[in-house]
Amino acid sequence: MATMNMIQALNDAHKVAMRADEDIVVFGEDAGYFGGVFRVTEGLQKEFGKTRAFDAPISEGGIIAAAVGMAAYGLKPLIEIQFADYIYPGYDQIVSEVAKMRYRTAGEWTMPMVIRTPYGGGIFGGQTHSQSPESLFTHIAGLKVVIPSTPHDAKGLLLAAIADPDPVIFFEPKRIYNGPFDGHHDRPVTPWAKHPASAVPDGHYAIPLGTAKVVREGEALTLLTYGTMVHVSLAAVEENGVDAEVIDLRSLVPLDLETIEESVRKTGRCLVVHEAPRTSGFGAELVALVQERCFYHLESPVERVTGWDTPYPHAYEWAYFPGPKRLKKALEKVMAD
């Protein structure tokens, strides 16, 4: 057991997996010698050699395509897209190839691979270093979509994603790489070391994909969220004295609907929170599912707290970010109705 921030935990997951499985190869822009702009792949080239951890040309399409070929060969690509905002040039290879390969070949060719990419705002990255495009992947049958919220989960989920026989898009909430975030951007940053989930077991452990985690039990309402917003939501719940049950989904596809349903049946109220833009965000799917399944248990409409339907504006980062005020208002609304 060691105390780690999320970057260290992810790095550790790479090492544990690569030591156990020679077929894992890591590549991405700046991911080789330098170890990635966020340093998640640091030291891998040194330990595993240049042919297992290397720099890639600046071609997200080429990176995914190469990974497809490697997976077809029998390797397990564990690749990095430098920012989620830059995944779109690889979108065709992901949607048309990675996602559909098992299906279109009736299981003859499979695409076990993990596509890691930092996502989300809160670091003054402007429109092209802040996006949360997860819902664009949840619509694509054949992909799994995973988002950790702590160092402990980051390692356990990444190891599960690596072991998974299907392709996993692994979104890393970059705002909380170095410490959890309560949404109050004007307060000093707390490091992970002060958070219990920075205790990361040594060696291998896996958190099964498709299992949500109830991070706070409560009776008044069910709050569904993931990534950075888990911490922002928890803080808001405490600050507003609402006895919410907060569920960290951890994986959007497959989704742990059982845990969700059980909670909503209990609380009768539901709030969905994400940073991505509202329209056709993953929150829409969650709302649809909850009202389809728990309609007669609902005492008030399921509400959404989200980013706005605009690009992420540099200077207005904190007016865009769904922070404490937006949460407070939504909590009040869900409870009031």
Partner: protein
């Protein structure tokens, strides 16, 4: 900020113009290819397969040809292939053509939704199959059915795929002709043009990472070279010196667009490789011997870690793009006949006859045999069903293989679909 007065300069300037490429001939025109420069068979030099890429670059604007007008093999690229292999190639090419004709007809008879022929381009895939090892991996486009046929994949299975029937290994999920077979080194064909090209490079990267001996060959059409994936393939192949052969089948048409719309007016497709420092060959795609020799050359290069090769096979799409296309809407009906590089089947046949290794009687027998084989395969395949009968049974199979295991949401949908199917 110019050093001359801009207004004064401007007055003397021509107005800018957009050039929109046009093929030489449109419907109604009489095609005449007499001024097409066709280098003589045997005239192209053959660098050593380990030569620096730059040594090959003059070949990117040349044309490697082996079979001459005299039906003999000429020059340094003559692969000196055993006549048994040539006969096998001829047989395979004839079988492909018969297969194409039967399946085209099957589509017209309403037995399936779609078909694509490779008429006039048979030499390319057949010679590739002959030149590479059985365990090298192909990442084909939809016009390399010849690879499967040459590698002995059952014709019946191909047809079952085309009919999406009970014998279809792809379980009715793919459009006809989107074959896939790992055991025959034939990667799943994608409907999305160009995607396979960089995937071939990735596969070969993996082979290199693992210290394998097997190499990969990627295939793409002239039109599809315009996709970004083409550039990914070239870039990755160059950067990592990948043991891959990258083939552009330039059949001069991309549905209704001629190759000028893909850039052929200004450079050959083989020349693209020059820009990446990749070895490059431009080859008469209707000359089975030249195709064979070029691929052998590139495979030797790749296997010796001397790097990738791009090969442009210059050929001509003799028929419509697919069963959905009528080419008389955009090119003269007589163009295919006028195309000067001939029919690859006829050329190989004539060569074997010139060698004294073949004759018309044997050829008729071979053609008849291919016809019998294809018809027999078709009979078996059709017993397993044709497309209009499909899609009713085994509904649950629709929901398999989206993931390794069926997740709850797809299981629910499967249950709904099964209920729906039962509900009359």
């Amino acid at each position: 900020m110019s050093d001359k007065d801009p207004e004064a300069t401007r007055a003397n300037r021509p107005v800018l113009e957009l050039h929109v490429p046009e093929p030489r001939y449109r419907p109604g025109d009489t095609p005449d290819f007499s001024n097409l420069v066709i280098p003589a068979a045997g005239s192209a030099p053959r660098p050593d397969p380990s030569a620096a890429a730059a040594r090959t670059h003059p070949l990117a604007t040349d044309l490697v040809r082996v079979l001459g007008d005299d039906d003999q093999a000429h020059g340094p690229w003559d692969p000196k292939v055993d006549p048994d292999i040539l006969r096998k190639m001829l047989k395979d090419m004839v079988t492909v053509r018969v297969f194409d004709d039967r399946m085209y007809r099957a589509q017209r008879q309403g037995k399936t939704s779609f078909y694509m022929k490779c008429t006039g381009e048979e030499a390319v895939a057949i010679a590739a199959a002959a030149a590479l090892d059985r365990d090298d991996m192909h990442f084909p486009s939809y016009r390399q059915q010849g690879l499967l046929i040459a590698r002995g994949y059952p014709l019946t299975t191909m047809m079952c795929q085309i009919y999406s029937n009970a014998g279809d290994p792809l379980k009715g999920r793919q459009l006809p002709i989107m074959y896939s077979d790992k055991a025959h080194g034939f990667f799943s064909i994608s409907g999305n043009l160009g995607t396979q090209f960089p995937q071939a490079v990735g596969w070969a990267m993996a082979a290199a990472i693992k210290g394998d001996h097997r190499i990969a060959m990627g295939w793409i059409g002239d039109g599809a070279t315009a996709e970004g994936d083409f550039h990914s393939a070239m870039t990755f192949a160059a950067v990592y010196n990948v043991p891959v052969i990258l083939a552009v089948v330039n059949n001069q048409w991309a549905i209704s667009s001629f190759s000028g719309i893909a850039g052929a007016e200004r450079a050959t497709f083989a020349q693209r490789a020059v820009g990446y420092g990749i070895a490059s060959l431009r080859v008469d795609g209707n000359d089975a011997l030249a195709v064979y020799a070029a691929i052998k050359w590139a495979s030797e290069r790749a296997r010796a870690n001397d790097g990738p090769t791009m090969i442009e096979f210059f050929t001509y799409r003799a028929e419509g793009h697919s069963t959905s296309d009528d080419p008389t809407g955009y090119r003269p009906a007589s163009e295919a006949k006028a195309w000067p590089l001939g029919d690859p089947v006829e050329r190989l046949k004539a060569h074997l006859i010139a060698l004294g290794e073949w004759d018309e009687v044997r050829h008729s027998a071979l053609a008849a045999q291919s016809d019998v084989e294809v018809r027999a395969a078709q009979k078996v395949a059709e017993k397993l069903g044709i497309l209009p009968q499909q899609g009713k049974d085994n509904i649950e199979s629709m929901f398999e293989d989206v993931y390794a295991e069926v997740p709850w949401h797809i299981a629910e949908q499967r249950a709904a679909a099964l209920a729906e199917a039962k509900d009359k």
